[in-house]
Symmetry: C2
Subunit: 433 residues, 2 copies
């Protein structure tokens, strides 16, 4: 369809919702994206750009546009979206775009560019509905309707005093229900949830999720209203944080873009593999220490691999459950203690079960019951250590303020490798040779 003339293309894309076009874009080359953006009405183009995932680089679509057209599109964007997108461009281009905008839009975006991406300030939109607490019902209602003309959606109405200090919130419904001679200050809710501009985005997401809020006001240190964050921004934050968790626990840097190129992937993953190489040398040195035992009993090598494999997987299981649990809720000391105790028990039972199967194999296939016993003990011990390391290491990291997901499987599995080899080869050297 992209080969036909513009009017056919226009008719085609007119049938899609902007968020659908944004998804469609992910499969299209950059030229096709630019061509479609150039023929869309400015308000649709701006919605498409704001709906695009950051990793498909919506900012690149602004680069080659005619300045006038670009201002049109940027002015249609919400300030928070405009800021997110513009902040991805080089400083010089940022200035160029801001200079093309009208004064009010430019100064709003400039003030948002000051905040860190992953704080409430970086997430917030400065367009808010706000009314004075002294207003009577009728005037308040009129003012709200008037302010809402420029916004697609609004949820909570912010109520301020004459110094722009946020004093409460109220819903449209409550204003409508109020009698005519009521002043807004009589019906506001004064115990509301709010965040400071420097609050971490994860904390914002937690509050919105815990209190089921559609939006949350952002204030400065003196309770002056700066903006608002809405639930849909938080849904995006949650997806982003969950991606980071899955990546980190698997030994991938949290900022690798899922759809990034191979260069980014190498940069993100090679350092973790090199770290793993260091710990693998440690495991290998345990094996070298028992060199002669292995040479005298080659059969041990196969069992070593089983010990390492099962230990690594059991540790990954305990790690995943513990890291996810910590990321959803803080654990008390007592809960943390019981978690490690539980993983000890799980390791004991799973280790003994797996160990018993291998014991049978060693007895009936290799005809060596003593070897079977050594492996049974080594497997059980290894899975106990795996469970305890997989649970206690992330818990300890959290306690000292380090992200527990960093205790990725890469670190934990080598830990179990070293211990498992020591146990198996040490016991084998003592008891079998």
């Amino acid at each position: 369809a992209l080969e036909e003339d513009d009017s056919a293309l226009k008719a085609l894309v007119a049938e899609y919702h902007p968020s659908e076009i944004a998804i469609l874009f992910e499969g299209l080359p950059q030229e096709s994206r630019e061509r479609i953006i150039s023929i869309l009405p400015a308000e649709v183009a701006s919605e498409v750009i704001s709906e695009m995932d950051a990793e498909f680089h919506p900012e690149k679509l602004l680069e080659n546009l005619h300045p006038e057209r670009r201002s049109e599109i940027v002015e249609e964007l919400d300030y928070d979206d405009a800021t997110d997108i513009i902040s991805q461009l080089p400083e010089e281009q940022q200035q160029e775009i801001l200079e093309e905008l009208d004064e009010e839009d430019a100064s709003n975006i400039r003030s948002l560019l000051k905040y860190d991406d992953d704080t409430a300030g970086g997430l917030m939109n400065t367009q808010v509905i706000k009314i004075s607490m002294k207003l009577m019902k009728k005037d308040a209602l009129e003012l709200v309707i008037q302010q809402s003309e420029e916004m697609e959606e609004f949820y909570t109405i912010n109520v301020i005093d004459d110094k722009n200090v946020l004093r409460g919130i109220v819903s449209l419904k409550d204003i409508i229900k109020a009698r005519n001679n009521v002043r807004i200050e009589e019906i506001i809710k004064t115990d509301f949830v709010f965040v400071k501009a420097d609050t971490d985005q994860e904390e914002v997401a937690r509050l919105i999720s815990q209190y089921n809020l559609t939006s949350i006001p952002v204030v400065d240190d003196n309770m002056h209203l700066l903006g608002r964050i809405t639930f849909d921004d938080v849904i995006d934050v949650m997806e982003e944080e969950n991606t980071e968790d899955i990546l980190k626990i698997s030994g991938v840097s949290e900022d690798e873009e899922l759809a990034g190129n191979w260069k980014e992937a190498v940069k993100s993953r090679l350092p973790w593999l090199i770290l793993n190489l260091g710990t693998a040398f440690l495991a290998a040195s345990v094996i070298r220490y028992f060199d002669s035992s292995i040479a005298r009993m080659g059969i041990l090598a196969g069992y070593m691999v089983m010990i390492a494999g099962m230990g690594g997987n059991a540790a990954t299981q305990a790690l995943a459950v513990t890291v996810r649990r910590i990321s959803l809720n803080d654990l008390t000391d007592n809960q943390a203690y019981r978690t490690v105790l539980k993983e000890f028990t799980v390791g004991l039972i799973n280790g003994a079960s797996i160990g018993f199967v291998i014991f049978l194999f060693a007895v009936f296939y290799d005809g060596n019951p003593m070897l079977g016993l050594v492996i049974f003990v080594a497997m059980t011990g290894n899975l106990i250590i795996a469970g305890m390391a997989g649970s206690s290491i992330p818990l300890m990291l959290k306690r000292v303020g380090i992200d527990p997901a960093i205790a990725s499987s890469i670190i934990i599995t080598t830990f179990t490798d070293v211990f498992g080899f020591l146990l198996l080869l040490g016991l084998a050297s003592k008891l079998l040779l």
Copy 2:
């Protein structure tokens, strides 16, 4: 504080928001939870219960309550929350509780109990705001306010015809802004997003997130309005689905409760370890096949462990990135092809880099350049296979309709073990011995 008398306890808990009490409950024994629930006002108790995470078993708090008190609390619950909680109880107790309720509440909850937990029907609340399309502005506004009395929050107003068929939606703001002589049908939005009762909850979450909706109507096959799902339910679904993804990718059954006891954990994890044991026997049999090579060159055992460790970790990295990418977006054939190609390149570069470090070690520490060369080739080949398996296996599973996260690290890492050993030991046997 729990040791003091009830009035002190009452004063204490009165200072907390219900969702804070729900979190506090997670660290308390069952008796303390029951005692606190018994002294809270019914409307607070019901909010606490509805805010509790399913894995802390809010339904158990209902079991020992006096029937009258229990009805009070259940009647305060939203129908969807009441249904979720009651559905966790045995059939007999469900009936008992439903019989205590007033007829309307009981029949609403009964109809919701029919739907699967993880469908739109299972998520929805049947309490909705609905007005007839024929109403004039003033009557509509009055009806909305009247209906909203019983709801804590509402977002979208559903507009139906005289057969209860959903014809459109409208916002409170739009009704207020309308002129007095306007009929609702003139201002409704007729291209709105909705779901059927049997739509999967993941799809509901996707739609709410994609279109930034505060709530979405649920209809039957004939577009009769059944209920609504709100963004806060979807935030919970997203957390649940993300937990399942992290667990599955780590070889833990998706339904293991994070705070569950050791019995559940063994039941959830042991089957995966036994599956892994089967594949580990395969890797071990490769080693047994090269028994004599290892006996003649004991130094190989240490390098084997490095090959297995690095291959497993590189595969886990590729797997995490690919599974997460699939779970956020479907990939086109072309994108899938480019993903596997990218992982090939990443494996080649990372494998050659790591291989080169080990090559240097083999040359300068072991004084065996030929051994170094064998390891270099084996490591590079192994990491290429790791990347391609880690990306292509989940992509293929997705293509045939199987959950890609099931391609857990457990399966992929053994795959790379077998291949890595074959490559290392095969080359070593040919070239070194």
